[in-house]
């Protein structure tokens, strides 16, 4: 059963990561590859605070989220003043650089990783309780992003993506909106990191490498950018595929590159065959009350 629980939790957390990344890259139109590092910041913050500073786990988890938000603002505030392109360039440095810092610090356990992270809920209520927690967070995140996308805020995000200058000319602050979207998406990733850390109780910098970025991006693109269910479908599919590959009993030295090739290959195939992803987005922004409108995609 533990194996199944492990799969449910990892798939759930990747749904959270893909959904929050969809908020940033899809709805916000912000191109970044630094999602795994916010996942890492949440995991490390929560792990360090709870193990070495005696902070209650739940509080440490929220602290992990806050640290991810603060770090995201440190990335977006200077770069977005210039342009979106700088965000992408800076996000690469952020992802690689911050992970190097984590690798070289003593209190994070360095490259060997951070062990003995206190468990949460499992000792008192069993493994099932943690599975329920992760599923609840997953559903909450998917519904939250859906709510935002279909609210007035979603309409404003749509307008901002269409034409930033015209958006400013109706009195709206595009930069602040981008910072908020990026902060929220990164905060959610940080919380997912904390959930990850307290289940597996062992984290290493390698788990948050740039390859994860490709995986999360693939989930969003293959699933369907700017849709509620796209990242969910994408995360399920892309987590199921590597699991299926493990049944082929290939040596680990081959398995790693094959997974990488699979992700990249899938993105390429989808770019040509089905650029809209498995779940296509509508061309028109729609609010919570569905109405029949012309000109909608799929």
């Amino acid at each position: 059963m533990e194996y199944v629980y492990g799969i449910i939790i990892i798939v759930g957390l990747y749904v959270v990561l893909a959904t929050s990344f969809n908020l940033i890259i899809g709805y916000g139109g912000l191109v970044s590859i630094a999602h795994p590092v916010f996942f890492a910041l949440g995991a490390y913050t929560s792990a360090v605070l709870s193990r070495d500073f005696g902070v209650p786990v739940l509080l440490a988890m929220f602290a992990g989220m806050v640290v991810a938000v603060v770090a995201s603002v440190a990335l977006t505030l200077p770069t977005l003043r210039v342009s979106g392109d700088y965000l992408l360039i800076a996000s690469i440095g952020f992802q690689l650089g911050l992970l190097e810092v984590i690798k070289n610090l003593r209190f994070t356990g360095g490259p060997g990783g951070f062990t003995n992270i206190p468990p949460f809920l499992i000792r008192d209520f069993g493994r099932e309780s943690y599975v329920i927690l992760v599923l609840a967070v997953t559903i909450a995140v998917v519904l939250l992003v859906r709510l935002i996308a279909r609210s007035d805020y979603g309409r404003a995000m749509s307008a901002m993506r269409d034409d930033e200058q015209a958006f400013a000319s109706v009195g709206r602050d595009a930069m602040w909106m981008k910072i908020v979207i990026f902060g929220l998406g990164s905060g959610i990733a940080g919380f997912a990191g904390a959930l990850y850390a307290h289940y597996y109780r062992f984290i290493t910098p390698e788990q948050f490498e740039i390859l994860q970025s490709a995986a999360i991006l693939t989930m969003v693109v293959v699933g369907g950018v700017r849709t509620t269910w796209g990242p969910v479908v994408g995360a399920l599919l892309l987590q199921a595929l590597p699991q299926a590959l493990t049944f082929l009993h290939l040596p680990p030295s081959v398995l790693g590159p094959i997974q990488g090739l699979l992700f990249t290959g899938l993105v390429l195939v989808f770019m040509f065959v089905r650029p809209q992803g498995l779940v296509p987005a509508e061309n028109v922004w729609r609010d919570r009350t569905p109405r029949s409108r012309t000109g909608e995609g799929g």
Partner: protein
């Protein structure tokens, strides 16, 4: 009488090409001022400088007595400076109505917290904004296309929607960049009516336009621009009759 918008000694050049040469201009509440001049005279650049899209090299702009020089584009709009674009620039992923709703003053959709928490306030604002949008669309004769995609509409109607969106923000000063280019028939009359109505409500309007008939019908006064400088100000009829200005306009 001091104007709603006061521009003092505005200068700007790009790599030696002067687009604004010591411009002094005042826009008065309730009046429509026509900005006339040949292509390249610096009319759109002048709008870009005032609206904060481009930073001037020197000069000062005040709106209702408050300096707006240090304000960003969107902050100027919140102070009451609204503009349209020569190339319309609507939001193509939104319907006509949604284009207008994003343009409302004090738009709650900009704040994530208010969207998630202040539901009652949101509903109240939404109701008022929809009524207002319906009113603006009604006056433009566009009620029947409220739920249409903007990109599905003819060019003339898109131009009207650009102006309608700018009117949603409680502007004190409205800058219209070639509102009549490509506009014909019913849209032409609707545009005239709406701009005049805005002025009658106390908005100071400035119109850049090549359509001399429209300028003559609508504007209380005209300004002639050439090579980044204001050459003359007076009644539109006078400016059109002036042989020197005509020569500058047609370049012969």
């Amino acid at each position: 009488m001091t104007g709603v918008l006061e521009v003092k000694n505005l200068n700007k050049s790009f790599d030696g090409i002067v687009v604004a040469r010591g411009i002094n201009l005042s826009l008065t509440a309730g009046k429509v001022l026509g900005l006339i001049g040949p292509n390249g005279a610096g009319k759109t650049s002048f709008f870009n400088l005032i609206s904060g899209v481009v930073k001037p090299d020197s000069g000062a702009v005040t709106l209702a007595g408050v300096s707006i020089d240090r304000l960003k584009s969107h902050e100027r709009v919140r102070h009451g400076l609204s503009r349209t674009w020569q190339h319309i620039r609507l939001f193509p992923s939104l319907t006509v109505l949604d284009n207008l709703l994003v343009g409302t003053h004090d738009y709650p959709g900009e704040s994530l917290l208010s969207v998630l928490l202040a539901h009652a306030r949101l509903k109240q604002h939404d109701k008022i904004a929809r009524e207002r949008a319906a009113d603006v669309l009604g006056r433009m004769g566009l009620s029947q296309v409220a739920d249409a995609l903007v990109s599905d509409l003819p060019y003339g109607q898109q131009k009207l929607i650009g102006v309608a969106r700018a009117l949603m923000g409680d502007a004190r000063c409205l800058l219209l960049d070639e509102p009549m280019a490509g506009v014909e028939g019913q849209s032409y009359a609707a545009m005239q009516r709406v701009v005049r109505d805005a002025a009658d409500c106390g908005v100071a309007v400035c119109v850049v336009e090549h359509n001399v008939g429209f300028i003559q019908d609508l504007c209380d006064e005209g300004v002639f621009m050439f090579s980044g400088a204001i050459m003359a100000r007076g009644s539109v009829a006078e400016l059109i009759r002036d042989p020197q200005l005509t020569e500058l306009y047609f370049g012969h």
